[in-house]
Each structure stands twice: as structure tokens, then as C-alpha cells.
Symmetry: C2
DNA sequence: CGACTGCTTGAGTCTGCTCAATAAAGGTGG
DNA sequence: CCACCTTTATTGAGCAGACTCAAGCAGTCG
């Protein structure tokens, strides 16, 4: 019941955050609690349900036969999970990063519900399109950006999702995923993530929280600049 | 008028190829002919229309401030272009690769039409989801695959779209885009594309058509194997 | 209080990039 | 039809960003 109350509270919070029209889905879904690394979906399994993140972070990923892994997206509270699956099977896997609460809805249930609430379908389409735009952005990161640029992009993305402004212009960005997972998201080795975070910390752009649990953005301007010219000399004039 | 006839013929061909329910859109669209590199959409512009490729190939791409470019997708005949845009502006650009015929439809027109043909909305959602799955696949390529693996994946993808089986097991794959564009799609330099194609040709997996206009897949099995273990030794036994 | 997991840091290697020179095709205009 | 010019592809040499392998160090949790 404690869990139920928490679930209900999260539901309300999400209802306001969620993409237009999607929040109502928690009304017909089931609250579920996941432990770290617990699986929500496995690539190739029958795609019978999708989910709405209530608290915590879910990683959607694909893997190669020899164990390399690429995280497709981190889903924060309010985000749909596995919504974009086209056919009858999941095209990617999804698992909890840390402890997670989700609201799970069966696809048949959504289909029925759509008949009663036609606007829902537009909400679904819009949510998938939003995910699509994010995927496009990440293709640019992975195909054409340096490690430093990717990290800067990543931190700014997380800041826009879960950043807590501090009044003094700084912004605290809690990161529940570990550096290996960040690497799997950015197409980098975890060692490179560590080195690059250290580098951003050394020049004062960010402060890395120890033990690693997030960062504080100290110089937003410089971080935004790093987004696109990671190789630019710090003191390079015109 | 000659053009109109060609347009109409293409329309029929596409109507059969197009994703479920989308083909009918050519009925309310306008046929348009594009010359090489002619622009269909520019990132940031008002997203007022989308398109259906009738013939030729369209490249959807994003670029950084300093000129690096990442091609998000190559759209073949039957594919929708700019369908996935979420907001009021395009999240990516699109241009013709070679000569292209498209069918352009305004978004307002689609909205009206959707009221008459409700199933269309499901077709749209499904088409976007299909694109999403393709984008996920490419994130894995860019984040975690070697140049050799990416090329193999790319050739197999093109083969499944436009490959012409030759009876002897070989498959002719015409490629209208140049090697720079393939590089921009795979996150590689054009020199790397050239070298890697040569390598695949040297070991007999493919034959590169000269002057470059496509490849012939000579050993499908080996190409599929290269997809996932590009670094595996050719003669490595257990 | 150990064992474990995750992070840091170093050394060396390698894949793929950059820069550059050459060659081959295709297009243009005389 | 041919000479010229531009664009695209090939190939080499050298470089560098990021990876791998490895050791050491917290911090956490039984």
C-alpha cells in the first residue's frame, strides 16, 4: 500500500510531465517496481505491452552477437518505453537503471482505449515523433562528434531533463547511470568517459560529484560551446 | 505531359510498395521532380509538408555548425520523407541524391484527409515506427561497429531495398549515392569507404562496379558474417 | 572486515582520419 | 569531336583520438 501510494503520487507527477495525451494512460496501466538491471523488454520477444516511466531511469538498448552494447535511449520519468515498436516483436531491449517504477499497459488495452479516446492516437504519434527527433540527434553525435562533444551534449540533454538550477547559475545534474552505461549510450569506452569527465572538471566547466553520482554544471556557456567544437583551442582567437 | 505520365506510373508502383495505407497519399499529393542536391526540406524551416519518394533516392541529414554532416537516412522509392517531424519545424534537412521524383503533400491536407480515412492515421504511426526501428539499428552501427561491419550492414540494407537477384546467387545492388554520401551515412571518411569497398572486393565478397555505381554481392553468407565480426580473421578456426 | 563493484590513471596499440598526389569520368564549350 | 575543367575515386604516408589491457584505489555491501 505504501508502494501504491508512491505509485499514485508518481502517476500524478507524470500525468503533468508526460507528452500530450499520454499521461492518461497511467489510468489503465499497472504500477510495477523494478530492481537495478531488471528487464522490461527483450529484443525479439512478443511486443505485447509498453510502459511509462514514473520514477528512475530506463535504458533501451541493442546488442551485437559478441556482446557489444549500444544504449538507444535513457528514458526519464514521463517518457514512454517501447512505444515505438512497429511489428509484433520488440526491436530493442529495455532494462532498469537503478530502482525504477513504471506503469505498464498492454497494447490491446491501448487499442480498446483508443476507440474511446481518439485523441490518444495523436498523442501516441506525437510521442513517437519526439523520440524520432531525439534519435536523429544521437545519430549525429555518434557519427560525427568527438568524445568531448558527445559528453557535453549528453550532460546538456540530462540537464534539460533532470537538472536542478541553483540560483547562482550552476545546475546540479544527478546521473543514476554509471560510466559504463554512459559509454554504451555515447559509443565510448567507460575509460574514455572517465577521462573526459575529468577533463571537463579540470577546466572548470563542470564539477564531478564524488563518488560519481552526477555533475554540477559551472559554466553553461562553455559547455554549450564544447557541444560543437570539442577540438577548438581554449584560447583560440579570430 | 511526358512527366505527368511518368509520375502517374511511378505513383502506381509506389502505391503497392508503400507502407500500409500510405500509398493512397499520392492521390492527394503533387508530383515534383528534383535535380541532384536539390533541397526538399531545411532543418529549422516550417514543417508544412512531407513527401513520398516515387523514384530515385532522398538523403535526410543533419549538420553541425562547422560543416560536418550526418545522413540520417536514405529514402528509397515508397519511403516517406520528413514524416517523423514532431513540432512545427523540420528537425533535419533533406535533399535529392541524383534525379528524384517525389509526391508532396501538405500537412493540413493530410489532416483533413485523415478525417475521411481514419485508418490513415494508423498508417502514419506505423510508418514512423518503422523509421524508428531503422534509426535504432543505425545507432548500433555508428556507436559500436567497425568500418568494415558498417559497410557490410549498409550493403545488405541496400540489397534488401533495391537488390536485383541474378539467379546464380549473386545480387546486383545499384547505388546512386557517391562514396562521400555513403561516408556521411556511416560516419566514415570517404577515403575509408573507398578502402573498405576495395577490401571487400579483394576477398571476393563483392564486386565493385566501375566506374562506381553499385556493387555485386558475390558471397552473401560471408557478407552477412562480416556484419557482426568485421575484425574476425578470415581463416580463424575454433 | 573482507570481497566486490565501479572509477581512475597510465602505457601502448590500432583503427580510421587528414593531407596530398594521381587517375579516371563526365560535362561543357569551342 | 576534341580539349579543358570539374568532380569523384584511389592510394599512400603520417598522425591522433579513442580503445585495450592492466594496475591501483576508493566506496559499498554483506
Amino acid at each position: 500500500m505504501g508502494a501504491a501510494v508512491i505509485g499514485a503520487r508518481s502517476a500524478w507527477a507524470v500525468r503533468e510531465n508526460a507528452p500530450a495525451g499520454l499521461g492518461i494512460l497511467d489510468a489503465i496501466g499497472v504500477i510495477r517496481h523494478l530492481t537495478p538491471h531488471e528487464s522490461l523488454a527483450v529484443e525479439g520477444d512478443a511486443a505485447d505491452r509498453f510502459h511509462l516511466v514514473m520514477s528512475g531511469v530506463v535504458a533501451a538498448y541493442k546488442a551485437t552477437a559478441d556482446g557489444r552494447r549500444q544504449i538507444i535511449a535513457f528514458h526519464f520519468p514521463g517518457d514512454p518505453v517501447c512505444l515505438s515498436t512497429a511489428g509484433t516483436v520488440y526491436d530493442h531491449s529495455a532494462e532498469a537503471v537503478g530502482h525504477v517504477t513504471v506503469c505498464s499497459v498492454s497494447r490491446t488495452r491501448v487499442r480498446e482505449y483508443t476507440k474511446q479516446v481518439p485523441s490518444l492516437r495523436h498523442g501516441l504519434l506525437d510521442a513517437v515523433r519526439r523520440e524520432m527527433a531525439a534519435a536523429h540527434e544521437r545519430l549525429l553525435w555518434l557519427g560525427r562528434k568527438t568524445a568531448l562533444e558527445r559528453l557535453a551534449c549528453f550532460l546538456l540533454e540530462c540537464a534539460s531533463r533532470v537538472g536542478e538550477p541553483q540560483g547562482n547559475g550552476h545546475q546540479v545534474v544527478p546521473l543514476p547511470m554509471n560510466q559504463q552505461e554512459i559509454g554504451d549510450y555515447l559509443g565510448l569506452a567507460s575509460e574514455t568517459v572517465s577521462r573526459t569527465l575529468t577533463e571537463l572538471g579540470r577546466d572548470g566547466t563542470i564539477e564531478v560529484l564524488r563518488p560519481f553520482s552526477g555533475v554540477v554544471i559551472r559554466d553553461m556557456q562553455r559547455l554549450e560551446a564544447t557541444t560543437d567544437e570539442g577540438t577548438l583551442q581554449p584560447a583560440a582567437g579570430p
